[in-house]
């Protein structure tokens, strides 16, 4: 029996093998009746939306929103407030870096829970509430600002212009790399692995930012793109005229500018979460135990497979939408931009998946992160007075978790349908608008029923 210190594992290898990305507890499968109820609501809403929702486009995107009071905007846009956020970002990340570099590689080192839970999962609710927060906190941006100051150039200016055709592709790759670390890599919670990954991350993104200027981070840094895309669901937004506004998230989604790699980035968000659920299902476990592949190989293929599945199903649906919704009088040349034109409508669905899969992890492992934070170097400190606390596993019941999961998936679906509807009535001629919406509607129903099945069987 290995040493168990204070009820927590203290072996120095493979400690707390974190099955669900991190966290050793997984959610119980949702009851079948919940899955059915969710699917029925999704179906009813989808087809009701076709008949009931508006026939003329109503969303005004970047032009929409009720401005915040001018004094509040002055404060939020002030250099003082921006620097407060930058310093907060530096302090939070600096804290984790100290624990990761100077702390021992033990289960009670807070690094892994801070990276995988407070940062990665915590970015979801914070971005949905407040918008693209990581853009403000990102310590790489601040460090790059310092480098630019030393070089005597404005941060936006790099050595060469950022090629527009790159779009979100670097973010898609960087997000995929992180989800691979989270869900597939062996020893992903150990300090050497985390230090290697983030060491490489810092070098790659700082170098790219020096070459292309700080705009690199907008669509190159996976975490910023993740936070910004989820931030489209926030009631806070910035209007085209620069005013900070309160507006319907549908307008913020509508205002998302199309770009290369956008579909791939959203597909990584959706596909990685789906793979996370699927990798716990008996079907996948049976497959991996019977196959001769290592878990790393099968995990890599599984993750890649789910991301590609999301890209392919979405591309086929938008291609069909273009065929069915096209005005017979035109040559259909405008169809080429269709895949990106509907990408924003998948964001709420991806967000629903994320909330459903990570809600309980946030609640339970988030407590672990705060408890371990009091003793970052595992020396018996109690910096924040939380060190002696235990995780309260009664914080939310399995029934509550199941209800949150189903509501998140179905609500994501409903928002996706509404966002896609408005885009369809704008892009397609009136007579073809209903037919043009059908492929995307079936795609969304598929994603939603798939998401519910993963919760039921995964």
């Amino acid at each position: 029996m290995s040493p168990i210190a204070g009820g927590r594992l203290a072996t120095d290898h493979d400690w707390v093998v974190l099955a669900h990305g991190i966290g050793s507890r997984q959610d119980l499968p949702i009851p079948f009746s919940y899955a059915v109820a969710g699917a029925v609501v999704a179906l009813v809403v989808s087809f009701a939306a076709l008949g009931w929702l508006w026939r003329e486009p109503r969303l005004t995107g970047g032009a929409a929103g009720r401005p915040l009071p001018a004094s509040l905007q002055r404060f939020l846009d002030s250099a003082g407030f921006r620097w407060t956020l930058r310093i907060l970002g530096l302090l939070l990340v600096g804290f984790v870096v100290v624990a990761a570099v100077f702390g021992p590689d033990l289960a009670s080192n807070p690094t892994a829970t801070w990276v995988y839970v407070l940062f990665w999962v915590g970015l979801v609710p914070v971005s949905i509430l407040f918008g693209p927060v990581w853009r403000q906190l990102n310590p790489l941006r601040t460090i790059h600002r310092g480098i630019a100051a030393l070089l005597g150039t404005p941060p936006e200016q790099g050595l060469r212009p950022l090629p527009a055709r790159l779009g979100y592709w670097p973010a898609a790759v960087s997000l995929f790399a992180f989800t691979w670390l989270e869900l597939v890599a062996s020893d992903r919670t150990t300090l050497p692995v985390l230090r290697a990954f983030f060491g490489l991350y810092v070098v790659v993104h700082l170098t790219a930012a020096v070459i292309y200027g700080s705009h690199w981070f907008d669509r190159g840094d996976g975490f910023e793109a993740y936070s910004s895309l989820l931030g489209r669901l926030s009631p806070l937004g910035r209007r085209d005229d620069g005013r900070l506004v309160i507006r319907s998230p549908f307008n913020s989604l509508d205002a998302l500018a199309p770009a290369a790699g956008l579909v791939a980035t959203i597909a990584v968000m959706l596909g990685s979460t789906a793979y996370d659920g699927f990798s716990n299902s008996p079907v996948w476990i049976k497959f991996t135990t019977e196959s001769s592949m290592s878990t790393r190989t099968s995990g890599t293929l599984g993750l890649l497979g789910f991301v590609l599945l999301a890209i392919v199903t979405y591309s086929v649906a938008t291609w069909l939408a273009g065929v069915l919704g096209r005005d017979p009088g035109t040559d259909g040349g405008s169809r080429r931009g269709l895949p990106t034109a509907f990408a924003h409508s998948i964001i709420p669905i991806a967000a629903g998946y994320l909330v459903a899969h990570y809600f309980s992890l946030m609640v339970f492992e988030g407590q672990h992160a705060l408890i371990n934070a009091s003793d970052p170097l595992v020396r018996g400190w109690n910096l924040f007075g939380t060190a002696e606390r235990g995780v309260d596993f009664a914080a939310v019941s399995p029934a509550t978790i199941a209800v949150v999961q189903v509501i998140a998936i179905v609500a994501g679906h409903v928002c996706g349908v509404v966002a896609a509807h408005d885009r369809a009535v704008r892009l397609f001629p009136r007579r073809q608008a209903v037919a043009g919406q059908l492929p995307l509607l079936f795609l969304m129903i598929g994603y939603t029923i798939g998401g519910l099945l993963l919760l039921f069987a995964g």
Binding site: P29, S33, A37, V45, R58
Partner: protein
């Protein structure tokens, strides 16, 4: 845009009502339905008299064996127990390794050709993997505590 918000709000209400209705109806289902007893799991009857060697009343015994790198019964099985139940896991293995019950953070070493027993009260709801540390993949089974 106001109507979009109104529609979204009424849809949210509809979802909530449906899920809550499902939640209410489900409670009665799950109490009637006995979870199926998978192979390799022995549920002792409360009437069994406890002796020093035999399991305590209401204890679920889960047996697993690991031979030539194969786990039997197949590791994709899920063993359901009720919250508060005593669980005894008996692992026979032809390799020396460490057995780990996730979430409960219990560990027990097993010798090559030996057996290891872990006993605990399943007081925390959720799904928990039980696995061997040094195998790839090392999953033995998943414990569902409802």
């Amino acid at each position: 845009m106001r109507s979009a918000t109104r529609i979204a709000a009424s849809l949210a209400t509809l979802i909530t009502l449906t899920v809550v209705a499902a939640a209410c109806s489900d409670n009665s289902d799950s109490q009637d339905g006995q979870p199926p007893t998978p192979t390799g799991v022995t549920s002792t009857q409360p009437s069994t008299l406890p002796t020093s060697a035999s399991p305590a009343p209401n204890e679920t015994v889960i047996e697993v064996s690991v031979m030539d790198g194969r786990v039997s019964p197949s590791p994709d099985r899920r063993v359901e127990v009720s919250r508060g139940q005593l669980v005894r896991i008996v692992v026979n293995s032809d390799v020396a390794d460490e057995i780990h019950v996730h979430g409960y953070d219990l560990e027990e070493a097993v010798d090559a050709g030996g057996a290891a027993t872990l006993e605990f009260e399943a007081d925390q709801p959720g799904a928990f993997e039980v696995e061997l540390h040094d195998q790839d993949p090392g999953l033995l089974f998943t414990l569902l505590v409802r």
